[in-house]
């Protein structure tokens, strides 16, 4: 009997609440932002599987002129490198974009960005970034060679062996 009453009260309460909520219209709680759950940590958003060692040999691509601290540009490159080492590729890309705002035609920054994208297995983007670096490299041979290596690796991953081999040839 008491249970019944409680249930009755509860049901009526719910009805009243529904009426009440209707009249309070503008204060209703909207749905959360769609992307909210995905990105507690910016790094989690782009989930990058570690590159299996069997498929792709450990990075042959060393960065040309490893950054040294001192200038704003060098320090940004350095922190991007640290982020890369920690597997924080999204952060590394953002840091390199900051560097590009200081020096938008720096072939080496574009190359480092290409390496980040390569590590993220964003092959097409890596290819394009390396090509961009090449377009800006002028006669800097080591930079160009490195770009061809990046492109070779990206082509290989995309299954385009002919282009991968061609790029490897050019890297020599």
């Amino acid at each position: 009997m008491i249970n019944m009453q409680i249930r009755l009260i509860a049901v009526m309460g719910v009805v009243l609440l529904m009426i009440g909520c209707g009249s309070l219209g503008s204060r209703t709680t909207p749905a959360p932002v769609e992307e909210a759950g995905k990105a507690d940590n910016p790094e989690q958003r782009i989930t990058v599987a570690p590159i299996p060692a069997t498929r792709i040999s450990p990075p042959k691509i060393a960065l040309v002129a490893p950054p040294q601290s001192g200038s704003a540009l060098a320090n940004l490159r350095l922190s991007a490198l640290q982020q890369m080492r920690a597997g924080k590729y999204t952060g590394a890309a953002a840091t390199l974009e900051r560097a590009l705002r200081i020096a938008p035609r720096d072939a080496i920054i574009w190359q480092q960005l290409a390496v980040v994208r390569l590590r993220q297995q964003k092959w097409r983007l890596a290819l394009n970034m390396a090509a961009k670096s090449n377009a800006l490299a002028g006669d800097k041979r080591p930079v160009r060679q490195n770009n061809w290596r990046i492109m070779a690796e990206a082509y290989r991953a995309l299954g385009n062996t002919a282009k991968a081999n061609d790029a490897m040839q050019r890297a020599r």
Binding site: L17, L24, R45, R105, N128, K132, G138
Partner: protein, 776 residues
Amino acid sequence: MPRKRSRKRKTTRKKKKSPFLRKWLSRLLVVGIIFGGLYVLYLDYTVRSQFEGKRWSLPARVYARPLELYAGLTINPNNVIREIKKIGFQKNSRLNTPASYWRTGNDIHLVTREFEFWDGVERAKKVSIRFSGNEVVSLRQHGSGAEVDLVRIEPVLIGGIYPAHKEDRLLVQLSDTPDILAKTLFAVEDRDFYSHHGVVPRAILRAMWVNLRAGKTVQGGSTITQQLVKNFFLNRQRSLVRKINEAMMALLLELHYEKEEILEAYINEVYLGQSGPRAIHGFGLASHFYFGRRLNELNLSQIALLAGTIKGPSYYDPRRHPKRATKRRNLVLKLMYEQGLINKRRYQRAKQRSLQLVPKPRASASEYPAYLDLVSRQLRRDYRDEDLRSEGLQIFTNFDPHIQWQAESSLKKTITSLEKQRKLPAKKLQGAVVVTSSDQGEILALVGGRDVRQGGFNRALDAVRPIGSLIKPAVYLTALDSQDYSLASMLDDSPLTLDLGGGESWRPANYDKQYHGEVLLRDALIHSYNVSTVRLGLQLGMNSIASTLKQLGVQRSVHRFPSLPLGTAAFSPIEVTQMYQTLSASGFRSPLRAIREVLDVKGTALQRYPLTVEQVFSPESIYLVNSTLQSVVEEGTARGLKHSLPEGMLVAGKTGTTDDLRDSWFAGFTGSHVAVVWLGMDDNRAARLTGASGAMRVWGSMMRGIHTQPLALIPPADVAEQWIERKSGLRGNDDCEDTVVLPFIKGTAPKQYAECAGGAFADTVDGFLNIFGTDD
């Protein structure tokens, strides 16, 4: 008798019915208790669900790019000051408060605030920036003198995307508010805050008594909790029912929540001012609105002023009624002194201070409506409108205030002077400007019309107009990329009549009403010859030109009539900008982006819009087009631009003029920026301006004012230069009268020598030498 009987009957009936009535009464009582209980339950649910859920609809806040300072940066120190003032920095020679600055000679000293960016917190710093002219030469820690490599200053807030009810607030946590704020609020609004249970009957009775005697409402007996309930849950109407609801909800609120939570909600809820349609709520926003400072940066008299405003934000509006507001503030200070919150010295000093207000911020949602419009359109692709208006998202953009200011003033000044010079109808000439970075496609500035602060028709995005000769680089790129043509190919610029069918024909004409016979392909582009371009277009086919436009990034489909190569297709300024961005970036297309990152209200990253590039043309083909566009400014239709640019500032660009001088266009790029300007009339009447006499002047004046890099084109490895005789398009040398040095993709340069350079004989010698392996 009958009366008596009846009475008797009545009494008997009464007697009889008494248990029945009592039964009903008790049932009624039970039902009453149940409903009363239910009602309390309902109130309780309302209080809890709303207090625990999302309490407020928070507008999205849109920020400019942060200013990054480093040695070697070119920037006008006045612009640095102008920008930091927008964030609320104040002059202070002692540099002992956050967000203060001091300028001495070539140095600007700054105390920055801590700010949370997408990639982490930028700590507060005290730095000295040394300038030499417009260049930052060093950045040092103030005091120690240690070098600092990079300082990122918090970004300027450029607008908000507001909820429908236009309530705006900036949430603060109680722990982030100055202690004196809460104490002041208690002193003024609710002395017994920490001891009551939400309602103080004694205070209500006292208020009633005072009001009754006065015959009107002069005193409120509401506690802070009741005021919160009133603002938070109830409507503004005054009635007894509402009063009862208010009291019950106040009790319930106190039952469930800590005093601190209630106080924090109150600090964020309370209404403190009005800016046009926008209601200023909470102390966090009010402190920006009135003083341009963060809440924890306010001094005693500023806090007293805000606390005093609660009673009547309109009546005590310090901007409209400074005397009234000062009086009120001083009353608050007096209360504080009397209650022992401050000593006499502080009281006296605070009383003496001015109101320290900043000028009233603009009432509209943004000072930069065109850019904000672009941002919200880009956001609407990924977020629901409702979320943008309520979730308190933080949007970080590429907006560059310095470039925006320059674009705005160049457009306004040029339009005004053109109207005067050319006696155009007043206030009719309109315009739009888009500026992006070359290699990244970041949209840095956007002007949507001559009234730059006014929203409405956003011409930069929505004025879809024929682009005239701005299309020509796409036509010539199609030709050069096929490698069937080179810059030295000869084009026919003699009269042309096209049969359009149905007895109609079309005779394209040049702007100078003349025909130029055989011309070099590069000259046809430099001088923007129409007839030869139409012939070239017919040879290439309209489909291939359309496909080039698409590759360059123009999404809109175009018609395929023979007039396409003359730009009878209509695009918006931003679409044209995308096209020229791809050219400026050596054929690497980057989708134009306004937004960098989106964070939620707590600073958690939701989304980043990263830099992407796609190579859509070979750097070689683009190099040929770009070096020709550079010649357009050196010797072609845009040569007038050279005079308005600083010495050595190499740029590439193209003028565009449409039929009857309706549209005046200029699109061009430096080594670091792409900009497109359009001038014309909204009703499509003739603006009587060519690309060079209108839009190009805006472009030049703007580029002169921003810090940009000269365009240094890097010749790709497969490109080599060669002397060409203009008349024949063949190889020339010193002996020829009219020659030009042109770049060629290897294998596409003419092999034959011109008559002046030895003709057939030289060809033979060359062929002979080639046997021995000499190569060009």
